[in-house]
Amino acid sequence: MATRDRAPASGRGATRREFLTGVTGALTAAAVAGGKILGSAGEGATAKPIRGPGKTKITIDVNGRRHDLSVEPRTTLLAALREDLRLTGTKSVCELGQCGACTVHLDGAARYSCLTLAVEADGRSVTTIEGLASPDGDLHPLQAAFVETDGLQCGFCTPGQVMAAAALLRRRPDPKPEEIRAALAGNTCRCAAYPKIFEAVALAASRIKKRS
């Protein structure tokens, strides 16, 4: 079932595959900038001063609110969200980019927050599962559809699934079934709620389309 490794890149800022490719590239060509390896376009290694090893100040827009944080350069975006901002909807499972439970949006594109350093998000905008519902608390159509179709069991992977699906619908409002699968290929659900997850994404897509 190596087909998973052949999955389309699914339009994320950096899929695990691209990340790994980038690392390999970096090993052979040491000049590749760290920022580029991680896919944060337009942020060359020389563009900003070297930071660390102590704490450094960053500013991130999270779910529409500006946060000034002081983080060590080694701090992942995942840790900053969960431990510093206490936004624990984004889950920590493998911390190696292997499961997708930590998926958030960075400037609108899906990212594994465990493979993203908090300093990379400096000056950028992050959306987490807590920011997906409308400000008055109404669930996003995807969230509502996950509940309705029972696209979850233990729920631990669910925020990541929803965020990956939301990124898909932004770029492909009317996805084909195989596009839904491909977009979620980087998000493991151990309870294996997949059939109903696919159903939820298709249902939400049809409702969003009807509404607009």
């Binding site: 509940v147 029972d150 233990c154 151990r190």
Partner: protein
């Protein structure tokens, strides 16, 4: 006191009224076809909105003021004795608040706990671990069960590495082998597999004086409470264990593990709460696994497809833990006039096994259902007909026929005749699992003035939907909607419940919830009777109103406001099982698979599943359980294997990259049919489904692959390398 009640029992279309004995206060079982308003409906799970919005708090999400972070130093060797340990540098490291050297000084697997640290940050705790200087004396080790069985192998336990666990027989097996028309013998192997629940294992411990609260990602708050109390040497009353949401378990969280007392001891030493969460690597090394198995199966039958004899010799390793049986379902699933079972646990220097969804059954089906297919092949018979002919369960025989019709079993080709490079095949397998539940769980239901019904039970919802099922059952009994009932669970301060495992939960807690709700309603109506001037027995209630046969209805609040405290409580306890219809749930699954003989890739195309689990409280959630079990079964058949380097005694793939589990691209078409048997064991007539759903899948996949290729692969998982090897040497049956 007990009383008689009449209940309809049996299989759909043939329900038969039977008299059963019930405890005095027990509500009559709901008839299997009763017209219920909330139970049996496709209601989205009540905690769904919390889970999709990130509000649901799991143990791994908790933070409390002043909390420290714990980390564990683990032995890198598979077998070693601690010669010396120096923690001075770790203790002096800035930010470190407590260092603990554990009592045990000899370790029987790589990853065993040696020492632990609590510090201001996780990074600081991990730095401190690297500053601990531990010197180990390496000891001889063995991780390969075949080596461990040999005389002179390094000893895992003083009593020896091999422990015979089951030895039973009936009839003259050897005579039956001699007189039968066909005999088949083969050796089937299954690997060690990992639970890999996404929320790992971990605890947060907080002391208040001599009382400790432990938030734990567990399937069993009461078992953890008692084990922790024992470990700390304090009374269970001084321990409270809480688990709100849990990110999966699959059996790996049924018992307390060392991180819980370590967190509590670190917290006591540091005089601050300690959160100790295992990382993914640790989780894969020390928190349990599905034991391996080597099954030598010899089976015989006659020309007409009657099974005559089975010899089952099986051993497996659960590392340092026993329990590696595979024969659980063997005596029950199909009739064997003569049968011999011999089983052994083999101990190795590897992380301990523990129950994993349908322990032993998933493995045992590989050998049993594989052998039945091979025998059928040799006799020139349809393997489905051979099963039906020898199946003692009228439920499963009907399920086989229903499943075959839905699946299109008639289209199955003779093995090895599928044309072209992508060969298709079909396979089938059955399941049996008790699932009738056990007595013990208690539930309290409180009706409150001013609105609201609260249900308290110390059970756990590990993703199966227990919260929702409890709300539905209480709502049904009280004439309310599911949103009117708030379910509180996962707390050892709530009424006692059993662990959430073994497909016991729904069948054990829903009857207690119904009894509790019925008791609360009785209490309410008893108090309403004098107000309305009628007998309580003549009153009915729905939508928080109490109605007399004639005359006006009054709201609940008119009664509840007169009660001190403004609430009425009802308590219920799960009664022992009534005399039911047929012990054991039955199920079967049909699989179509495609094998690419050029690449060795296997793809499951579709699955049809038929399962009996008594009354289905919520078909939406029930389907999720079944489909999740099927997909985990496919994952076990095709992908999952913990790989051990026997030269060094180390696990090579303790992560989700190299330990593969099924993903979105590998999901086949799945068709699920409930088979609502009126089982009659309890007042809701619910039976378990969690384990039955995974039992037949991997065996059916293996049979489909064998049918596609005309060659069987005897060793799971069915990875491309094995497929290609088997195609090169089709006659090499392992012995």
């Amino acid at each position: 006191m007990s009383r008689k009640a009449r209940v309809r029992l049996g299989v759909p279309g043939r329900f038969k009224e039977t008299e059963v004995l019930l405890p005095d206060r027990e509500p009559d079982p709901w008839d299997i076809e009763a017209d219920l308003q909330v139970v049996g409906k496709r209601i989205p799970r009540v905690d769904g909105p919390d889970k999709v919005s990130g509000r649901a708090r799991y143990t791994f999400d908790l933070q409390i003021p002043g909390m420290l972070h714990g980390a564990i130093l683990r032995c890198p060797l598979p077998h070693a004795r601690l010669k010396s340990i120096d923690t001075a540098r770790a203790e002096a490291h800035p930010g470190v608040r407590a260092v603990l050297v554990l009592d045990e000084k000899e370790y029987a697997y790589a990853g065993h706990e040696v020492a632990a640290v609590a510090a201001d940050t996780l990074a600081c705790a991990e730095e401190a671990l690297r500053l601990i200087q531990a010197e180990y004396e390496p000891l001889p080790f063995v991780t390969d069960p075949d080596q461990a069985r040999k005389p002179g192998a390094p000893a895992v336990r003083p009593s020896g590495n091999v422990d015979p666990t089951v030895s039973t027989s009936r009839g003259d097996v050897e005579a039956a082998f001699r007189s039968s028309d066909a005999v088949v013998e083969a050796v089937f192997r299954t690997p060690v597999a990992l639970h890999a629940c996404l929320e790992g294992h971990g605890s947060l411990a907080k002391w208040d004086g001599d009382h400790v609260t432990l938030w734990d990602s567990t399937q069993a708050v009461f078992d953890v409470r008692d084990s922790l109390a024992k470990s700390l040497g304090i009374p269970p009353g001084k321990v409270r264990v809480i688990k709100d949401h849990a990110g999966g378990g699959f059996g790996s969280k049924l018992q307390m593990r060392s991180y819980s007392p370590i967190a509590a001891r670190l917290a006591r030493k540091a005089a601050a709460p300690v959160r100790l969460l295992l990382n993914r690597r640790e989780d894969f090394l020390v928190t349990g696994n599905r034991h391996s198995s080597v099954q030598r199966v010899k089976i015989a039958g006659t020309k007409d497809g009657t099974l005559t004899a089975l010899s089952w010799k099986s051993y497996g390793t659960g590392g340092t833990e026993g329990g590696a049986q595979t024969s659980g379902p063997i005596p029950d699933l199909y009739r064997f006039p003569s049968l011999r079972i011999e089983e052994e646990d083999v101990f190795t220097h590897a992380g301990p096994a523990c129950p994993m969804r349908a322990p032993g059954h998933v493995q045992g089906m590989i050998g049993l259902e594989g052998a039945i297919d091979e025998l059928s092949e040799k006799l020139g018979l349809d393997p489905l007909e051979v099963r039906i002919k020898n199946d003692p369960s009228d439920i499963r025989r009907a399920e086989f026929r229903l499943g075959a019709a839905r699946f299109g079993w008639k289209g199955r080709r003779p093995s090895g005749t599928s044309p072209g490079p992508r060969k298709r095949g079909m396979g089938v397998a059955g399941s049996t699992w008790d699932g009738s539940g056990i007595p013990g769980p208690k539930v309290e239901v409180k009706l409150r003035a001013g609105g609201g019904v609260d249900l308290y039970c110390g059970t756990q919802d590990i993703g199966t939907g227990t919260r929702t099922l409890l709300a539905q059952v209480a709502a049904e009994e009280l004439g309310l909607g599911v949103d009117d009932v708030t379910v509180h669970l996962g707390d050892s301060y709530f009424p006692y419940s059993i662990l959430s495992g073994g497909s016991l939960t729904a069948a054990s807690v829903t009857p207690a919830a119904r009894s509790a709700a019925a008791a609360a309603r009785r209490s309410l109506l008893d108090r309403a009777a004098p107000i309305l001037g009628v007998r309580a027995a003549d009153l009915t209630t729905s939508r928080r109103r109490i109605a007399a046969p004639a005359g006006p209805a009054i709201p609940w609040d008119e009664v509840l406001r007169k009660v001190p405290g403004g609430s009425l409580a009802g308590e219920g306890e799960r009664a022992p099982n009534f005399a039911g219809y047929h012990r054991g749930t039955a199920g079967c699954q049909f699989v179509e698979a495609e094998v690419d003989v050029e690449t060795g890739q296997v793809r499951v195309i579709r699955v049809v599943a038929v399962h009996d689990s008594g009354r289905v409280v919520n078909p939406l959630l029930w389907e999720s359980q079944v489909s999740g079990g099927i997909l985990q079964g496919i994952s076990f058949a095709l992908l999952e294997e913990r790989v051990m380097d026997h030269r060094f005694g180390k696990v090579l793939n303790p992560n989700l990259e190299a330990y593969k589990v099924i993903g979105a691209l590998e999901v086949p078409e799945i068709e699920i049919h409930p088979f609502p048997v009126a089982a009659g064991f309890n007042n809701t007539q619910v039976m378990g489904i969690g384990e039955p759903a995974i039992i037949p899948t991997a065996a059916a996949v293996a049979n489909a692959v064998a049918n596609a290729l005309g060659v069987r692969i005897y060793h799971l998982p069915l990875t491309p390398d094995k497929i290609l090897d088997a195609l090169e040497a089709p006659s090499s049956r392992p012995t």
